[in-house]
Amino acid sequence: MAVFLSKEPIDPSALLAGFQIEGAGAIASFTGLARGTGQDNAVISSLVLQSYRGVTLASMQTIAVESIKRFSLLHAHITHRSGRILPNEPIVFVAAAALHRAAALDAVSYMMDLLKTEAVFWKYEETAGEKRWIEPTEADYARAQKWNQ
């Protein structure tokens, strides 16, 4: 398991290159990126992610541990940025290695759904001098809740 909180830009392809484990038949990955335009087509100059002390990393570790148990993963990786993120820069990279594809793909969905709603971050977009806090949508909460059923 590898879980990192990074204040510097992250490189998903380098992280994927480092994500190797003998015997895996399936490796799924997901990269979430900052977008330059919002839902109302507003130009977003940056996305700012705030974390809180050790709690943020611990919340990410909990998600990785749970995904390994739940999907019998051989390996799991989460790297999440904090601080100011520019459009097209990665916000988060997750990867899961398993024997078969369904487990690896489901684990990546699970980790992302839980990161959206359970990882200790707060974020706002900056648009033309305005600051707009982003919270999970109803769909995000529904996706996370689905895993408890």
Binding site: V55, T117, E118, W133
Partner: protein, 84 residues
């Protein structure tokens, strides 16, 4: 009485800064009463601090409103989380 420093996270900090000082009894105060004390000392937080979506974190652990906190502990309030 003692001064408890309470950290405000996310959009809460936009309202009253990153940290607010709250006077609390030396024996401590439970989180529910702490919300009331914050609302009285910082009217700008008087609505939002009672929102059930605003969770308390004490010494880096999310806690419920019955937990008692004292000056010197790490106390923070979290608005809804939003990673990824």
């Amino acid at each position: 009485m003692a001064i408890l420093q309470v950290e405000l996270c996310g959009r809460l900090a936009d309202l009253a800064g990153d940290v607010v000082d709250v006077e609390v009894p030396n024996v401590g105060i439970n989180v529910s009463d702490l919300r009331t004390a914050i609302a009285e000392a910082y009217p700008v937080l008087s609505q939002i601090i009672f929102d059930s979506k605003i969770r308390a974190c004490v010494d880096e652990i999310l806690v419920n409103d019955a937990v008692v906190v004292r000056a010197g502990q790490l106390v923070a309030f979290f608005p809804p989380l939003s990673g990824g």
